[in-house]
């Protein structure tokens, strides 16, 4: 990705840097929120889960901040070309990050129920799946800050990996529930957790698409789906 020259008006660069910093902070917060929510779930730590729910307010505040900054840049700087694309993308990305935060919060909210029941074998896949999702978010944010189209494009392929985790967890849980009908309630909650992570993966991937558009002005080509499981059983 070609490095951009500085703007003649230096405060314009400062505004853009500030907006990027807020988006980066939102991305960082997404990563911790997902990791903490899944840790709390696995550790059956209800207090830790409650802290995740509490932390989500910071995400909302950051989204408001990003929106205000973007609006100010549009009003005062009248950005054009890649600057315009970046500001608009930043505003959209902030919205998506906020949604990702909601999913993390939703995972945390299920911890008390899951904590009350016996351990569920297939749950071991959840932290692995969460790790894959977090890495996608991290790399997407790096690509955003660097306006790196190549990196964004490479990320698009990785959503499949998350879908595969979901599909295998889905099947494992189905079998587990049939064999242990008394675990249907916690298993269902776990299934929703996996679905949340799968949705987060989709959102993160859509952010990667926005990053690609910001960098090139082009939408990337359609991305593939291997298995229909993750798109058919949508609990929302």
């Amino acid at each position: 990705m070609a490095e951009n020259a500085a703007h003649t008006v230096k405060s314009f660069d400062e505004d853009i840097a500030q907006l990027r910093a807020v988006i980066t902070r939102m991305g960082g917060l997404c990563e911790t929120q997902i990791a903490d929510a899944v840790d709390a779930l696995v550790a059956r730590n209800v207090e830790a889960a409650a802290r995740v729910v509490e932390q989500d307010k910071r995400m909302d505040a950051l989204e408001t901040e990003a929106e205000a900054l973007a609006l100010r840049i549009i009003a005062l700087r009248a950005p054009l070309a890649d600057d315009l694309r970046e500001v608009v993308a930043a505003m959209k990305i902030a919205g998506v990050m906020e949604r990702i935060g909601d999913y993390a919060k939703n995972i945390a909210k299920r911890t008390p129920v899951v904590a009350q029941s016996q351990p569920i074998g297939p749950a071991v896949i959840v932290p692995e799946m969460a790790r894959a999702v977090i890495e996608i978010i991290r790399d997407t944010l790096d690509a955003f800050v660097d306006r790196d189209a190549e990196k964004a494009l490479a990320i698009l392929q990785r959503d499949q990996q998350v879908d595969e985790y979901y599909n295998s967890l889905f099947r494992a849980l189905l079998t587990f529930m049939m064999e242990n009908p008394n675990t249907i309630t916690p298993s269902t909650h776990l299934l929703f957790v996996a679905k949340n992570l799968e949705r987060i993966g989709d959102h993160a991937t859509s952010v990667a698409e926005m990053v690609h558009f910001t960098a090139t002005g082009q939408r990337p080509a359609e991305r593939p789906k291997t298995d229909s499981t993750s798109s058919v059983y949508t609990p929302h």
Binding site: A5, H7, A78, D83, L84
Partner: protein, 259 residues
């Protein structure tokens, strides 16, 4: 070089145009089509040759000492630099509005009537009254001046003077209107009225506007040409130029990274 204006029949075409002031070359091998369907904006840093090139389109450079134009420029397929071309006639067909409003020190009426009289477009006083009224109406000025047509054109506000100059340009029913930074001396309201006027005139005349205001170019034009150091760097749909320009030089200029 991309010269396609995306229009079936161009109103004006320029091919391999070079312009020199003495030894100094101000325009280098510029080829471009201008269509009647669109407003075309010329943008670029100061001194890149926008005004010079604009002046080629109605041979205003003929009046500039030491200026020499090479290449071919056609209006409806006719070579405007051909010896048979009547320059006075050409400038009636290709009108011009300048940066600083320059009404004649005459009445508002006479300012507008001057061109049509020169070209014998009115057979009677009533004819002329009609031409003057219609030009002032199309320029969005009629309601403001209809009761003071005898007053001096120079005793108006800057924005009114500029609209008077536009009325003067359209009174001879031109085919092309060239505008060189027509709003640079105007406040936002007067500017908005001129932009609205340009939008209303679109389709009836081929309009080319030189502007330093990127937002203005984006607002009023459908095609934008970016000039740099005498060359035409990029010519494309305005929306493409301002959201996703192809050339780095264009991008650096419109995003404020130039120089």
């Amino acid at each position: 070089m991309n010269t396609a204006a995306g229009s079936p029949v161009p109103k004006m075409t320029a091919r391999n145009v070079n312009v020199f002031y003495g030894q100094k070359q101000a325009i280098k091998d510029v080829s471009i089509d201008v269509s009647r369907e669109h407003v075309t904006a010329f943008i670029g840093p100061s001194g890149c040759g926008k005004s010079t090139f604009l002046r080629c389109l109605n041979r205003m450079n003929d009046t500039v000492d030491g200026a020499r134009v090479e290449g071919r420029i056609e209006l409806d397929g006719q070579d405007i630099y051909a010896s048979v071309m009547d320059v006075v006639q050409l400038r009636a067909r290709v009108g011009m509005v300048f940066q600083k409003p320059n009404p004649f020190p005459k009445s508002i009426y006479e300012n507008v009537a001057y061109g049509p009289r020169l070209h014998g477009l009115a057979r009677s006083r009533a004819d002329m009254d009609e031409i003057v009224e219609s030009a002032l109406r199309r320029a969005g000025l009629w309601d403001e001046v209809k009761d003071r047509l005898g007053e001096s054109g120079t005793a108006m506000s800057g924005g009114q003077q500029q609209r008077l100059c536009i009325a003067r340009a359209i009174a001879v029913d031109p085919e092309v209107i060239l505008m060189d930074e027509p709003c640079s001396a105007l406040d936002p309201i007067a500017t908005a009225r001129i932009e609205e006027l340009i939008d209303e005139l679109r389709g009836r005349y081929a309009i080319v506007i030189v502007t330093h205001n990127m937002q203005q170019a984006a607002r009023v034009s459908q095609k934008t040409a970016f000039f740099h150091l005498g060359t035409l760097v990029e010519y494309d749909d305005t929306s493409a130029i301002f959201t996703n320009p192809k050339a780095t030089r264009t991008k650096d200029y419109i995003t404020g990274r130039y120089g």
